[in-house]
Amino acid sequence: MLWSRAGNKTIIIKNGSDSDAQLAERLKQREEHAFLQLYDQHQRSVYRFLMHMTGSVSVAEELTQEVFVVILDAICAGKMDQFDPKRGTLEGYLLGIARNLARGERRRARRLLSLESVLETSEWRHNFEALCRENSVCDAATAVSVRSELRDLYRAILELPEHYRAVVVLCSLQQRSYQEAAALLQCSEGTIASRMNRARALLTGKLRRSTTNEVDASVK
C-alpha cells in the first residue's frame, strides 16, 4: 500500500502514576517549576487533541492556554485536591478539561470550523511534502487526490458526534492504544473499541458519499 503509515507508532507507556502524584504534590506547594514541567510534558497532547476537536489551530492554541490557566486557578484556589492520582493520570485530567472547553467553545461560538486552518498551515504542508518524498510520490495528480481525500476525511471527522470524534482523535490521530484512550476518557476499553468501529464505519460512509458526489459532479 502506497500510503501506509509513515513513521513509527510510538506508544508512550506511562507508569507515571507516582510521578503524577509527585508532580501534583509539587503543584499543591505552588512550585512554579512544577507548573512549567506540567506544561512541557502535556502541551503537545492537549494542543493536538484540541486542534482536532475544534478543527482550528488558533482556537486550539487559545484553549490550550485556557486549560493550563484553569489548572493555575485550581492551584491558587487550593482545589488541586480534585485530582486524585489513583483514579487517573494528569494527562487524562488535562484532556478532560480540554474536552469541556472545546465543547463549550463549539456550543458558544457556533463558529464555522475552518478546515484550512489545520490542513493549510505551513507546517502541515511541509509535512505532507516530506511524506510524499519519503514514499516516492512524484505524481502530482496522486498527491492532489490524496490531499483531497484527506480534506474530506478531516471534514467527516469534524462532523462526527463528539464522543466518536474524541476516540478517533486519540486512537487514530494521536495513535494511543485503546487502553490509554480508555484511561484518558474514563471509560472501558470495550466502549472505546465499539466507538472506534462505529466511527470508522461512519467515516467510510461519509467518504463514499463525498466521492460519489464528486463523480456525479464531474459527469455532469
Binding site: 503509515r5 509513515a6 507548573f35 486542534m51 509535512n127 490524496v146 476525511l153
Partner: protein, 218 residues
Amino acid sequence: MLHKRSMKTKPAEVSRVDGLLGLLGELSQHDPSPAVRERLSDLCTQRFQQKRVFIDTQPRIFSWLRVAFVAALLAALGLAAAWVFQLRQPEPKDMRVGNEPVSPSLPIISGKEAHVAPVEHSSVPPSPVNRRSRPKLSPSRSAPEMVIWLPYSNDSVDTGTGATIQVSVSQSELLSLGFPLNATLHDRRVVAELTLGGDGLPRAISLPLPLRLIKEEK
C-alpha cells in the same frame, strides 16, 4: 438506516480509511506556539507571587486575631466570675420588717414605716431605738418572721442574749404596734415571740411565719 448501510462497508474501504487516518495523524504533528509557554510562565509567576504575599501576611493577621480573641475571652471570664461572686454574696440580714415578703396579703413594712407603739405592760416610756445595741437573731433561725423593735429606755444594758419567749398577743395590740394584719384574724390571738434584754424587759416582738393562731378565750 445509515447505521445498516455504513456497517456494510467493504474491508478495503475500511482499511483505506484507516490508512488515511494514520496519514492524517502523521501530518498533523503540530506544536503550540512558544508564546503560550511564555504567557503562562508570566501568569504563573504573577499568581504565585500574589499568593505568597497573601500567605505571608496571613499569619500576622491570624496572630493578631488570636491575641484579640484571648483578650476577649479573658474579659468575658472575668465578668462572669464577678457576676457569679455577686450572686453568691449573702444578702445582709436586716431584722427590720419588710426585708422579705411574707405573704401576698401582707404589705411590706420598711424600717421607716414601722411605727413602734408603747407596750402596755412596759413601765418605761418609749424612747428611740438604739440600733447599735440590737441583738442579732440566732443564725439557726431561718424561718421568715416579722420583727418590730420595741422602745427601750436604757441603751447601756446588754441585750445580746437573744432569749425569746412565746406569748399570745391580741390582734389589736399587734395592729397598734404596726404589724399589718389581715381582717380574717379578728377573734383570734396570735402567737408571737418576745426577745428579752439582759434586764428582762422585752426588746422586740416578732411574728414567726406562718402565723400561729389561738382562739381567744373569753
